[in-house]
Symmetry: C2
Subunit: 344 residues, 2 copies
């Protein structure tokens, strides 16, 4: 099994990845925003030990990463892979992450909550992601006394996570909804249904490359199963609408449609300078071309890989050195050319 | 030897082709604008016979084309190959053209003058073009009594051609002069020196694809040799300036420069719909890339061929049928993709 950015899962023509995360806190420590350095350190080592030490069934599957031991670039790479949140990558005294070897599970320690258990799968695999999260949570709860209230449920730093502490989300590629403007209707409907829609890297990020993250806004008053069912339901409706609009747009003018995606492909294959923003835009067109069967000699996994590797930190990691913004644009173009030509 | 659009000649990085033409009229007939249909017919057959019949040394090299026997498409193809002028392609009662098998010589009959002898060479070969024109003229004058006045020289329909009746021109690709805006200085200087600068298809055509035709404005009061020397001289100066500016632009920002030409190449290789105008623009970038050594797997001859074949009439000829404007744009994109992929 590979990470979300290497494999393509079910419904991959629209759903890039699925994520479920649980917010959990130790009962015997104040929330992270109120901890002393000593307490931070204790939470970090207790969480690490719960997974890696003793007779833990999952010990051998995980790697512990002390975020303080990483330089800024390596922390940003984790953010770009969605293994830690942007907030978690900021420098603190004691923070870390436990990452499974296939990069599908990450457990952030001392983020906004003591623990953020996250499972990330390629394509539409929300039930699997939830099952795995639940399993990891059960294993952790055998070792850690969690902050739980019989009427409120799990207690969290921020009240928006109170109760189940669950956030289930799907990352959707919605070019046809954007092109036709119908995305506005989706956004309105979601907002009324208590479903949040964000860009690729969480809150306050624009929908670069027509990528939208759909997730539940409320964690209280509903069971995990109901929340998962709700996100599944709305995601399936959006998938259906996106597919209908793609077919419609193609039918309206096949040559115009093919021309758009093929030109973007041509530019990706030949450019010498490319910004992240432009890359995301063109990769969205290329992905649409692949998913519509127009571009046949490139596969979706390659586009996923390029999308990740062309982000600023991953790109510098790939280049093996720090790069200024202009150098990044040159290296990005080079990376994209190389990746596309090797797969054609 | 191949036609101007198949081979590349000397200085091909700037000079696409060279043309010399002579205007001549029969002494015993009124100018074309004043001829009766019968006289038109007589001029046509006398001119044809002078080349093709008897013991003419060049008879076997020429094909006579009766323009009335061609449909509109075939006449336009001749225009796009520069073998006849746009005016000559318009429907008249009796008109024709004698074309050499290598398409380097054409003798228009009953154009603005009774005869327009034209030699068209790839690259900068103005002396060769003039020598060949002069040779054809001498052969014709052995058989035809030309309208000549001892003080004015050759008499022509329009006084602008009086005297030598010569027009020498070079077709120049000047992207760097256009990009930097210095083309304005060239146009001003040329105008002061009695040199005309026009677009690709003669008078009243825009400089599509950064192509400029430089030719002498005056035919009277100077010898043919002086006129040829003048156009040679100004062409060489323009070549030099264009080359300096190309090197300068490249040096200023090599990546930006390469990015521009390579993106155009990428679009040419992948688009599904392309107008003539866009094709000319992108082919200009591609040509610049080839001539600067940036694009290595395409040759200039292929670009010449594409530039010709993507013109509306040639494109329809290539497709083997009449096409509406939208179909042409689709076929043009297809033609360009095929031609470029075969040569890479």
């Amino acid at each position: 099994m590979g990470a979300w950015y290497i494999e393509r899962g079910p419904e991959a023509d629209v759903v890039v990845s699925t994520r479920v995360r649980l917010a959990r806190n130790f009962k015997n420590f104040p929330f992270p925003c109120r901890m002393t350095a000593e307490q931070e350190s204790m939470v970090l080592s207790e969480a690490r030990d719960a997974v890696l030490n003793g007779n833990s069934a999952i010990a051998k599957d995980f790697v512990f990463v002390n975020l303080q031991s990483l330089d800024n670039l390596d922390r940003q790479v984790l953010v770009e892979k969605h293994l830690v949140s942007p907030q978690h990558a900021e420098i603190k005294k004691y923070s870390g992450v436990l990452v499974s070897r296939d990069e599908r599970i990450s457990i952030m320690i001392n983020e906004e909550d003591h623990l953020r258990i996250q499972c990330l799968f390629p394509g539409m695999q929300i039930d699997k992601a939830w099952e795995l999260c639940d399993k990891i949570d059960t294993l952790l709860e055998e070792r850690i006394d969690m902050a739980f209230d019989s009427s409120y449920g799990y207690l969290t730093s921020c009240p928006t996570n109170l109760g189940t502490g669950i956030r289930a989300s799907t990352m959707l590629h919605l070019p046809a909804l954007v092109m036709t403007g119908y995305i506005r209707n989706i956004l309105e409907a979601c907002s009324k249904l208590g479903v949040a829609v964000r860009g690729l890297y969480g809150e306050n990020t624009e929908a670069a490359g027509n990528m939208f993250q759909v997730s539940n806004q409320f964690t209280l008053g509903k069971s995990e199963a109901d929340i998962i069912a709700g996100i599944t339901n709305i995601t399936q409706q959006i998938i259906e609408q996106e597919r209908v609009l793609r077919a419609e747009l193609y039918k309206q003018n096949p040559y115009r449609f093919e021309d758009k995606v093929c030109r973007s492909m041509g530019i990706l294959m030949q450019s010498r300078i490319m910004s992240t923003e432009e890359a995301m835009k063109l990769l969205s067109d290329a992905r649409l071309g692949v998913d519509m069967g127009i571009i046949k000699n490139v596969n979706g996994e390659t586009l996923n890989e390029i999308m990740l590797l062309s982000q600023p930190a991953s790109l510098q990691k790939y280049a093996g050195k720090l790069l200024g913004p202009d150098e990044r644009d040159i290296r990005r173009a080079e990376l994209i050319r190389n990746k596309l030509q090797h797969r054609i």
